[in-house]
Amino acid sequence: MTATAGYLSIRDVNKVYGGQHGETTTALKSISLEVKQGEFLAILGPSGCGKSTLLQIVAGLIDGTAGEVVLNGRAVTAPPPEMVYLFQQYSKSLLPWRTVEQNVALVFESKGMKKRDIAARCGEYLGMVGLAAFRAHYPWQLSGGMQQRVAIARALAAQPRVLLLDEPFSAVDALTRIELQSLVLDLWARQGLTILLITHDVDEAVFMADRIAVLSARPSTVEMVVDTALPWPRDAMGTRELPRFLQLRHELVTHLLQRQNAGHVDA
């Protein structure tokens, strides 16, 4: 991967929620991260630490209270066309009244393409995720893993430069998760994407990412950023058996467990 510095910058992002009685909750506190072009960055943190909030601010879907997100030199104030957000809840992000192909077609319709061209492009992207044979099915006729594949195909069809993944594999079974992880890594390498992945799964973060940013519990700060320094291409079995993988996973799990126990004592 050729990586360029300063491609996507998250600068001092804060998010404070106001309650009904004047009290405030700080979800994110001075989060700063630099993401290089073509990089795969995992953001790892405990449940409820505001990871999704951070990613939605990066996507321009919600506003931060302070700080800014800069993509390729431009401040993000609305969802930029070169960035696509993939939700965990595939069953809610797909349109149940549209077939698999029509779901992907949604992306092309807004670009004023001809019907025949749209069908061809949809077939191309569905092929990438191995669902070419299911184009006429409805989402609710497919398994969870297949539905998430449709969502991935649709996200890719929007031809993003940056893909934001919000725990995309946490709602599927363990084997499907391994398959989807490899699929996304493969697409990432082939399409030259920059990926930000939110996850609470240490194994997933270590297996997939170039670097891992570890977030603390609320109010979330970046506790550390580690280089996975694992060889490419990653292999679903082989990579997970490397000493470096095991060591890194051990360190991260130990760190998160310590944090969690400390949190319990505080509370």
């Binding site: 969802p79 066309p81 809610k92 992000s93 349109l95 009244w97 949604l106 319709e109 996200a155 929007a158």
Partner: protein, 251 residues
């Protein structure tokens, strides 16, 4: 076959009720000139059906219902969408809706007669007013209930506001819209019959009241039976449309 069997079983209760009615009449427990038995109403019903004399009043009533109902559906969906998508319009119109909605619509019939007379215009207006609110309220709830994930997905995929309304919000609200339309249809039927009874010179409602006043009890009951079947058929028809329009709802 079990589905058919269950429906067939349910028919027993209807047959039982008719039988009980017949027995009560034959036992001399009621005045037969006020409540004739089904066996005496059936010939009257047959006469109306065989002569084809049911067509004109039925067409008249259903015509008024359909026109008023269509207006209500179009206006209800449009207003519901506008109010659901714009906080500004919601803030402006919601109080008005909440003031008019609780008024029992039959109470408006005398007022409508005052300035619309007793013709088609009055009946259509009354039906439309009664049928408007269930569609409007359900559309509004449907629009406001669209999953935020779906809306955020539309934004991240670069759908324009208009495309989002047309391709995401409208179909996502369709199950709720149809629920409103179903309620509206039965309300519309009630109101068209009532309007015909209170102020009209044609239609089934007028006919039933006219038969009662001229003491033609058997045809009066026959027309009530026809109305029951009309209501039932409208509902069945609606269910068929609903199943086709939102096949994903069962899931």
């Amino acid at each position: 076959m079990p589905e058919l069997g269950r429906k067939g079983f349910g028919l027993l209760s209807i047959l039982g009720a008719l039988l009980l009615w017949e027995l009560i009449c034959r036992a001399g427990l009621v005045n037969l000139s006020l409540l004739p038995p089904p066996s005496q109403i059936a010939p009257a019903l047959w006469k109306i059906l065989a002569s084809g004399s049911f067509l004109a009043p039925l067409g008249q009533t259903l015509g008024m219902l359909l026109i008023g109902y269509t207006i209500a559906c179009v206006a209800g969906v449009a207003l519901g969408l506008l109010m659901g998508c714009s906080d500004y319009l919601y803030g402006l119109l919601e109080p008005l809706v909440e003031v008019i909605r609780p008024v029992p619509k039959p109470a408006l019939i005398p007022a409508m007669v005052v300035f619309l007379g007793i013709g088609a215009g009055m009946k259509i207006t009354v039906v439309a007013l009664a049928a408007l609110f269930p569609v409007l309220i359900n559309t509004l709830q449907g629009v406001r209930g669209v999953d935020p994930v779906l809306l955020a997905t539309a934004r991240t995929l670069g759908c324009s506001r208009l495309a989002t309304i047309r391709k995401i919000i409208l179909p996502a609200s369709l199950p709720m819209i149809l629920t409103g339309m179903r309620v509206s249809l039965s309300m519309g039927l009630v109101l068209v019959i009532l309007a015909e009874m209170l102020a009209a010179e044609s239609g089934i409602g007028f006919l039933i009241l006219d038969l009662q006043r001229s003491f033609q009890v058997r045809p009066m009951y026959a027309w009530i039976a026809i109305l029951a079947v009309v209501g039932l058929l409208l509902n069945v028809l609606f269910e068929m449309v609903e199943d086709r329009a939102v096949p994903w709802r069962a899931k």
